[in-house]
Symmetry: C2
Subunit: 319 residues, 2 copies
């Protein structure tokens, strides 16, 4: 175990704080920080567009970003099933290393547990993270008011479908890739530059429908969204129809929902679209006093339907 840590983890994730290999890492902060944790149990371990390592970096990075914090330091805790082959482990650690570099975050402390065969399914990863809260921006459900605009930063439902297709060995013929991405490079500069962002949420488990419902529940306001404005690729739409799954409920790992001041909406949209991760961003709807606590969808065929919160998990182990 000692050698595994030195040869694999220290090499791939090297930084001056981690090198100390103490049980906990020292960090100097003079500002308000955010702190988060997430475990990753996705099955299969890799799928088009990402793997458990990339998810473990991006998921925790995004949780911090949604709170308006610039992610800086992460912890890495692995639970490994005895007999997991070294190549697989190395590929995962490589992915963690590459994605941490891309996101500009450092793994500064870690833990490794090995359990006997059958006691866990190959590998589970926990990453916790801390980040510096961007000054003078208070993101909160309490800020949201009627007439605020709802922006979505990219195409929906990619991640869940990519995992599902790989898991079920479905040859959908669509080649759908997970959208898994760290959103700090896209969103933190815009948060710093503008004043109109009131709230952010990443629509992971339960998809866009669940995230929107959490917003209406928390703000006690309503949201009306326009189906025609929701960014979705032709492939994803076709695959969802084929499988009979509503893309609104499918997990995403690289997009965010932003609630913004109506005056700032177009400016923020312009900034988002300048970045590769935001090129498909759209204003999809508006907050209103009614229907209180509910989400209404204006469909492309002109009808209206209520978009409910997800009550049971359709796809377990999606992240």
């Amino acid at each position: 175990m000692h050698n595994l840590i030195k040869e694999l983890f220290l090499k791939k994730l090297n930084n001056p704080i981690l090198k100390e290999l103490s049980d906990s890492a020292f960090i100097n902060y003079k500002e308000k920080i955010a702190f988060t944790t997430d475990s990753f149990v996705v099955s299969p371990l890799s799928f088009p567009g990402a793997d458990i390592g990339k998810l473990a970096v991006c998921g925790t990075v995004n949780d911090l970003v949604m709170q308006g914090a610039a992610p800086e330091y992460l912890s890495l805790a692995l639970i490994i099933e005895e007999g997991l082959d070294y190549k697989t482990l190395e590929r995962i650690v490589d992915s963690i290393s590459v994605n941490a570099k891309e996101a500009g975050v450092y793994f500064v402390t870690g833990d490794l547990k090995v359990v006997e065969r059958g006691a866990c399914d190959k590998i589970f990863i926990n990453t916790s993270g801390i980040g510096r809260v961007v000054k003078n921006k208070k993101l909160s459900l309490k800020n949201i008011k009627a007439k605020d605009k709802i922006i979505i930063t990219g195409n929906i439902a990619q991640h869940g479908l990519a995992v599902l297709a790989k898991r079920k060995e479905l040859d959908l013929g669509f080649n759908i890739k997970s959208d898994c991405a760290a959103l700090n490079r896209l969103l933190i500069p815009i948060l710093r530059k503008t004043d109109g962002i009131k709230f952010m949420r990443d629509p992971t488990r339960g998809g866009v429908a669940t995230a929107l419902n959490e917003i209406t529940e928390g703000s006690r306001l309503g949201i009306v969204i326009e189906e025609k404005n929701i960014p979705i690729s032709t492939k994803v739409r076709a695959a969802s129809e084929l499988l009979g799954i509503d893309p609104f409920y499918i997990a995403n790992e690289g997009i965010a929902i932003l609630v913004v001041n109506p005056d700032s909406a177009k400016g923020i949209l312009r900034l988002l679209r300048k970045h590769p991760l935001g090129k498909n961003a759209q204003i999809i709807g508006e907050v209103g006093k009614k229907p209180k606590g509910r989400v209404i969808l204006n469909t492309v065929v002109g009808s209206q339907r209520i978009v409910d919160m997800l009550t049971s998990e359709p796809l377990p182990r999606i992240c």
Copy 2:
């Protein structure tokens, strides 16, 4: 899952930061902080003296304390096997709640994943933690010099034997309890009050032998310890002999090894013994220039033996 979080976790672990139920928690720090992570996969889930919940609190608290940081905020991430009965889960969350209160730490953020039957063994817990580093005390292997004294804060080998006996359903007739305890209330005040502590380590996996070897390896000095001074209960000594296990290699979860300035050793020992968790503290040995990088034990029968680093794990899933 929504209800489980609100009804169980929020009730038992309630505090103003957690109540926000956002993906990450805000924390104000103006000082140097330490950051750590640990996963807990112990089997069985409970055993005399502790359970996985108590371990998950104390283990992470102690990792921070060993770095000279007063633990403040913890995260809680659970991976639960589908079908785990609610009573068991509630007992574990109760234990987490009680032990967090006792240690004076707050759970401010969390995550919950449920995996299908057979994908994990009942429940795994990750806790990450952050703490405020005690000012003007720099604990480091680099501070250690020849003639420094080695103090151990309590009786050795309790935890590993308690878990082993329960796991194997051994009726040892000794009723050995795990020493599992949060050490911040014992050690942080002494660290603040005195100047003689140079380094601390909790001898968990691999026991006292492994922790001492890590100290000699890191400092490139030697340590000579006196068997007669090592605090060990009669029960533990008898059980170890019966099972043919060397108590030096058995995991502990509620004691620490301190390397202290020779002039301060007696004063620190006095302070330790005033606290219930330190009442069995002993000076067990001394640092020397020789044997470089090795640990020597002077036995009670007058012989000497080398105490090696543990090369293979005798007891997996001990924490």
